[in-house]
Symmetry: C2
Subunit: 417 residues, 2 copies
């Protein structure tokens, strides 16, 4: 996943970071502790360690797009959905989005929240924290904004293989949190929950993770809990049509979604005990790629184009007709494209020995009907992988464009109509 | 937490690490992917990133003590307890400990498990992975080794404030897994579960986390989910009596526990909504230390000795009589000492908005009756913190000394009697 324009590169020096914080009026006392990433008090014997780029890296809150879409994947993530409380409407929603935006801006800059801060992230740098906000289908009727509801938010079709828990699906409001430190992420999650106050109630919440930066020499495409390389065919920001496929154009409709994107969120449980029983060859056939290095079964390396027509000595297709990688190829789906930016999840192993683990699949596209939906329709009918996964919850959210200085996310929707 | 003798410092070069792997007979093919931390195939455009010390750092499996006791805390942890399966006894237990030790040695060195490997950690370095193995009270009757059961494993006393879930407490066998990468940790967890095979069944399993290395300039004492600095008063390996307090002496009893330690494991739920409602001053009074920098309320810095007798202008003790830090002071507990090496946990926020979060408290001592028990007895009677926490599960495990080359953990118990 390449840099987004929001991102400050890892080359940022700690001095510069502190300078930025100082410029925003943050007190950096000699005693330490006033800032989120302040140094330990100097007479502590443990004060020698320094903040690495992992801690110092930050992503900008303000920008054309919201952060957390093209930002590099972080090692820890939280998803949380809220429903507006009974009696809360457009006014309360606008106030909440204003609070959330202010919190996101401050935390992503490594600032504290002052007296209301729980101190869980104290001493830590922003650690590439991102907060991303979206609106679900039900948000618009709750706020009297039905006329502004994009048709792209029409409910996803039912898929044959779905086993959806409605209580863990959708929601009026959705927040995605990611950071390279678990306490920084948890701190942000609790701040988001506190900001909700009386205006909104938690509908569902999920935790996820990815590789830690530096743990692998191959970080750009991650492995999932099946051991597969995931994300090889993601559109790249350098692609000519990347913006068109992922973001609603500035002139798009509805106008308040300019530079926004649509997120499809699926909690996909992996039936790991069944999967792990397959031979390596059988696993490769399910995917159509070699698990070892992600190369197509027709040869080459991870980034080599698969030869979908190639047959073996036995006359059979080398990449089986129901291989996952064949079915998800954009050229097999009318050019459908989305950026997949998932987290793995693992909610423990039960007394029965079965892990509750899999993928918090999150994909981003300018139009779900040209991204997730056609691909999932094909997977639903004939994906060899479907025997080993189960879609357990689903969400679809309109994620507005980024907030400019002094603005809050969703302001164009909540104040313009 | 200082280095253990098992630890290879972060200065280890990647070349040296690869060299070590090569020496153990691991194939490092030009195509990449054969080793757990092999480079990506060279024609991948994503291959540029290099393994940092986070990924390359490793802890030695073989040593005087098992790893994971004095090793630096890792950012991700799993605890898993097993009961021996019906019909499984000493022989099956010995074979299982042999399998687990072999797996731990290989994974901690960054090797793969060959054809049975799930590939989840593929491309990643060992990332400071540790696996630590212990035996619970019930293990000894199941294996006909009652006479070798240490009195130190006698069940912990009931505490007034306990709310223990027996199904998530104790167990015949216990494994602690830690790593600085979540997929490396998950990979090891699944390998441990696979090794259990027909010999043992999962009793309970929990996930935890700590700060990521580099996320903070103050890593030696961690913050917990209450925002408190935790671990300030931990015994340090440089202390003259450290070994005596934490490890069973080489001449200790029973002989098979030479250089071993006892782990007390408590899942301590934090009532964060109640806690977060307190003012900063009220929180400081509960703990007896300033949340900001961990300094005692009587002044100084985190490492300053608290003045337990000091009174304020109002004649009251500055550090309240029921302050957590007062009650847990070793000099208030007959010198009781233990090394606390916990993980935080967060198993999600429920529909009621309440987080299931807190501390996987793990402490290490040569004798629980001179470590955890006297301290918890005092906390049980008068700790101001007890209104904000709830002990939900409990375990006590005998953790044998480290395995030498060619040995497995627990061999002295399982083969000598």
């Amino acid at each position: 996943m390449a840099d987004s324009e929001n991102r400050i590169d890892s080359g940022i020096s700690r001095r510069r970071l502190l300078g930025t914080a100082g410029a925003t009026g943050l007190a950096l006392g000699a005693v330490g502790g006033a800032a989120g990433y302040a140094t330990a008090s100097s007479n502590s014997p443990d004060a020698a360690a320094s903040l690495t780029s992992l801690g110092a890296d930050r992503v900008m809150f303000h920008g054309k797009h919201q952060p957390g879409i093209t930002s590099p994947m972080q090692s820890r993530g939280h998803l949380i959905a809220f429903d507006l409380a009974p009696g809360a409407g457009r006014k309360e929603a606008a106030a909440l989005m204003r609070r959330w935006s202010a919190t996101a801006r401050r935390l992503m800059a490594g600032e504290t929240l002052g007296d209301s801060d729980t101190d869980v992230a104290r001493d830590a740098g922003p650690s590439s924290l991102t907060l991303t906000f979206g609106f679900g289908h039900s948000f618009f009727s709750r706020t009297g904004l039905e006329k502004q509801r994009p048709t792209a938010l029409d409910p996803l079709p039912d898929f044959f293989s779905d086993h959806l828990d409605k209580a863990r699906s959708n929601g009026d409001l959705w927040v995605q949190i990611g950071a390279n430190d678990a306490l920084v992420a948890f701190h942000a999650l609790r701040a988001v929950q506190r900001d909700a106050g009386e205006a909104a109630r938690v509908r569902w919440q999920m935790n996820g993770f990815n590789r830690s930066p530096g743990a692998t020499s191959h970080p750009m495409t991650a492995r999932n809990l099946m051991g597969q390389i995931d994300g090889t065919n993601n559109p790249k920001p350098a692609d000519a049509d990347f913006d068109k496929r992922i973001f609603v154009p500035a002139s798009g409709a509805p106008a308040w979604m300019a530079d926004g994107s649509y997120a499809v969120v699926r909690r996909i449980r992996m039936l790991l005990d069944d999967w792990d029983k397959l031979s390596g060859k059988a696993q490769d056939d399910v995917i159509g790629r070699k698990k070892s290095d992600g190369a197509p079964l027709t040869g080459g390396a991870e980034t080599t184009e698969p030869d979908l027509e190639k047959t073996g000595a036995d006359g059979k297709l080398v990449i089986p007709i129901n291989a996952h990688a064949r079915i998800t190829r954009p050229d097999q789906n009318g050019g459908a494209a989305m950026v997949r930016r998932p987290f793995s999840y693992h909610d423990g192993i039960g007394h029965d020995g079965v892990p509750d683990a899999g993928l918090l699949f999150i994909c981003w596209q300018a139009d779900p009907l040209r991204g997730f939906v056609p691909v999932q329709r094909k997977l639903d009918r004939g994906d060899a992988l479907s025997d080993f996964i189960r879609h357990e919850s689903s969400g679809l959210f309109a994620v507005p464009g980024g907030a400019g200085e002094g603005e809050y996310v969703g302001q164009a929707l909540l104040e313009a109509y």
